[in-house]
């Protein structure tokens, strides 16, 4: 009927939160527990991994006609991501000669439904790399400011790990870590011989029950499919639903926020406008405080699109910094065949959804030709065969004799091929480096002057190039991988990527740890947000995803998003109490 009429919700909320991922879920949880009336706007649909409608956990490959291939979902049919690097009707672009890949999930909980659950807190050095190395910037806060929140997040959400006493890999409140798998014991031994630490991983998975709402891990190795007993952390299950349960959070799914609305006189936020994705109706919600948590690039996009006479560069952007300093983790990988693992004994080796051991950064960059470190994640074992299993066997089977001592030329067919599939099963390891990049002003996203998405919202255009620092770091990763593989008695697969391939350095955005686009800092001329992630220009505006982060360490950032969002939520509560907001 009245399609062109903008519908306004009469209620004025205490807080409007945009996005229900790690940052938004935590803010909704913390604020609604404190009694605030919250409106949580999520562009994607409702999702609950315990509802048979959505369950993919424990399904077998033959329950997918493509056996789990990644035709429609980048991590396969059973992955719990409704999204990917490309979304129908929601394009983005990159300036010629530059590259950025933007992964989005449109669902309650965002990308925390299928993330890797690797939950690393930053160490003291990670907040002050600028001072320590003379390259890059410090955070406006220190580890001590965040540590109490890391502690609270550990206890609220649950994480396993081991006390190691490493200075820049601070220990948390850990549940027991699962024992290493066979290949992980081999990695550990190899690391020991080489002086490379291989320690229990730190994942937000409940190896012990922590409350009545969530179950205990039953070792199916499928956290990427999201856990039906909520034994892994997802914002949807562990934060958003409890927030709604308080009665204080109103969740609206299918609400694609277009812009933040402001009062031109006071310069304060008054609410947001959004598109109802089902009806394409335009709606507004009013609130006293606006908290953005739409993920780093999307929050920058929202602010840049919230232009007005008073804020001609976009909201909270008098510094002009919004969009700049975009950075993603570096990443490079290698895999190997371990002949000693051929024809191995079978048993259920699924374990938790992810690695049981990893290598934290162990070297001193002062003695290296690149300024920042990386950690190494490991894969391998007798996992569930999915689409891709056995492919490329003709590159392998001719090289190794059968148990009866016979050899055949590569390729082939027949019962020997079945023997190949059996003997090579579970005899591979993979290693992937994840490193800290130097955030650069010249790596940024901006509003594309020529394009809009299917809702008519102007889209992003990216500008991103790696510098020599990241390339050299990737080179070092490749050398380390080969050392480890060699020490394990393994045979590295494929060719070692050389200089022409940037040593296998993945394209920006591929590691999905993008941060930095709405910088926090103490100087309003150089940053958009203060040290509580509150707008310098607009005091009732907050950003609680990774957009405010100055750097990302080599620590996958989600645990820090959670801690920082909780910290900002507490600050909001305090400021409201003090009547500053």
């Amino acid at each position: 009927m009245s399609n062109f009429h903008i519908q306004e919700t009469p209620e004025v909320f205490d807080v409007i939160i945009v996005g229900s991922g790690a940052g938004g879920g935590m803010a909704a949880y913390q604020l609604s527990k404190a009694g605030a009336k919250v409106c949580l706007l999520e562009a994607g649909g409702y999702y609950d991994p315990a509802d048979p409608k959505y369950i993919t956990q424990l399904k077998f490959p033959w329950e997918s006609p493509r056996r789990g291939a990644s035709t429609t979902r980048p991590f396969g049919d059973f992955d719990a991501a409704w999204g990917g690097w490309q979304l129908e009707g929601e394009p983005y672009s990159a300036a010629p000669g530059t590259e950025f890949h933007w992964f989005r999930s449109r669902m309650l909980g965002g990308r925390t439904n299928h993330w890797g659950r690797i939950s690393l807190r930053f160490g003291p050095d990670d907040f002050r790399r600028g001072t320590l190395t003379g390259i890059g910037d410090d955070w406006p806060i220190t580890y001590d400011d965040v540590a109490p929140y890391y502690d609270k997040v550990d206890k609220l959400i649950g994480i396993f790990g081991s006390k190691e006493g490493l200075r820049n890999e601070p220990d948390g409140h850990f549940l027991p870590a699962p024992k290493p798998r066979l290949h992980e014991l081999m990695l550990k031994k190899a690391g020991k011989n080489l002086g490379i630490p291989v320690i229990p991983s730190r994942l937000s998975i409940l190896t012990k029950k922590i409350n009545d709402e969530r179950g205990q891990c039953f070792y199916c190795s499928q956290c990427g499919r999201a856990c039906q007993v909520y034994a892994d952390f997802s914002s949807s299950s562990c934060l958003c639903k409890p927030a709604v349960k308080t009665g204080n959070t109103r969740l609206i799914n299918g609400a694609m926020v277009r812009e933040v609305l402001t009062d031109q006189k006071t310069g304060l936020c008054t609410g947001v406008s959004y598109v109802d994705t089902a009806t394409l109706q335009e709606r507004t919600v009013r609130g006293k405080i606006v908290v953005l948590a739409a993920s780093s690039c999307e929050s920058a996009r929202l602010l840049l699109n919230s232009k007005s006479a008073r804020f001609p560069n976009g909201l909270a952007n008098s510094s002009g910094v919004i969009g700049k300093y975009l950075n993603d983790s570096t990443g490079a990988s290698r895999s190997a065949f371990i002949p000693a693992l051929m024809n191995r004994k079978r048993y259920n080796e699924d374990g938790v959804g992810g690695m049981h051991v990893y290598t934290p950064w162990w070297l001193d960059n002062k003695k290296l030709d690149f300024p920042r470190g990386y950690h190494i994640e490991y894969g391998g074992g007798m996992g569930m065969p999915m689409y891709g299993y056995g492919m490329g066997i003709h590159g392998m089977n001719g090289k190794y004799a059968y148990t009866d001592g016979k050899s055949l030329p590569s390729g082939g067919y027949g019962s020997r091929l079945k023997e190949d599939a059996r003997r090579f099963y579970g005899a591979y390891v993979g290693m992937a480096g994840r490193g800290e990049p130097i955030p650069l002003e010249s790596n940024y996203c901006e509003i594309d002057p020529n394009n809009v998405d299917k809702y008519g919202i102007p889209t992003l255009r990216f500008h991103y190039k790696w510098s020599e620092n990241e390339v050299k770091q990737a080179q070092h990763m490749q050398d380390t991988f080969e050392e480890m593989i060699h020490e394990m008695g393994g045979i590295a697969l494929g060719n070692k990527p050389g200089k022409e391939q940037n040593y296998g350095l993945e394209a920006p955005g591929k590691i999905i740890h993008e941060i930095g686009t709405v910088r926090m800092g103490s100087d309003p001329k150089k940053s958009a947000l203060n040290s509580f992630m509150q707008g310098h220009d607009v005091k009732n505006l907050f950003v609680v995803d990774a957009a405010p982060f100055v750097t990302q360490g080599d620590k996958n950032v989600t645990w820090t998003i959670l801690a920082m969002s909780m910290r900002t939520s507490d600050y909001i509560i305090d400021q409201v109490k003090q009547k500053n907001l």
Binding site: P61, P65, K179, M382, H394, G411, Y413, A421, R422, Y425
Partner: protein
């Protein structure tokens, strides 16, 4: 559903024929609601149903695929053959799901028939087993194959890949491999005898 409702209200309202049952006027084909399998999004279920209803390979092509699959993975003491595990239907689906496979597969099958005709004046499926194997042996070993068979080698590599994946992602394949996971479990570490075998320990 929605569309029908609108039509219905037009029929009743604007034409003023409220006494005539609206279904007679509108004659919308009965819509069977598409069943959405658990864990799929609606758009995915629609796409899958559409692909499933389509046919890509001709009966002759599918027959050839079946013969090849069973040469690649025949039944043995441990498990059945590729066709018993439903591999040909899987390859048919993948060709529709990922169209990049279409030309290499269809073209490869045509290459095989043309090679068979050259040698024996028959299509591949009509050859005797030894004749089929004679051709297969020329294209199954990439490092030894003569250069003139390079296209056949590429095709056979693809068939080998698809057959292995199609076979080992079935219950039959799982049992053959001895994969025992994907079920609630309690991980307590590598079994003692395996630790011993590899000279490893948990300290």
């Amino acid at each position: 559903m929605k569309r029908r409702d609108t039509l219905k209200s037009i029929a009743l309202g604007s034409l003023g024929m409220a006494t005539v049952p609206s279904t007679d006027l509108v004659a919308a084909p009965p819509e069977k609601p598409l069943p959405i399998p658990g864990g799929r999004q609606k758009s995915e279920a629609i796409r899958d149903a559409k692909l499933m209803a389509e046919k890509f390979f001709t009966p002759h092509e599918l027959k050839t695929i079946t013969v090849l699959c069973d040469i690649i993975l025949p039944a043995d003491q441990k498990s059945g053959s590729a066709s018993q595990a439903g591999v040909p239907a899987f390859i048919e689906f993948m060709a529709k799901d990922q169209p990049v496979h279409q030309t290499p597969l269809r073209g490869g099958l045509a290459w095989l028939d043309s090679e068979s005709r050259k040698r024996f004046n028959k299509k591949f499926v009509e050859l005797t087993k030894p004749q089929q194997i004679e051709i297969v042996d020329d294209i199954a070993y990439p490092e030894q194959a003569k250069p003139q068979y390079s296209q056949g080698v590429a095709f056979f590599n693809k068939m080998r890949d698809m057959t292995l994946t199609g076979f080992y992602t079935t219950r039959m394949g799982f049992d053959d491999l001895g994969y025992v996971g994907n079920t609630p479990n309690n991980w307590e570490g590598v079994p003692e005898e395996v630790l011993k075998q590899y000279g490893l320990s948990y300290e």
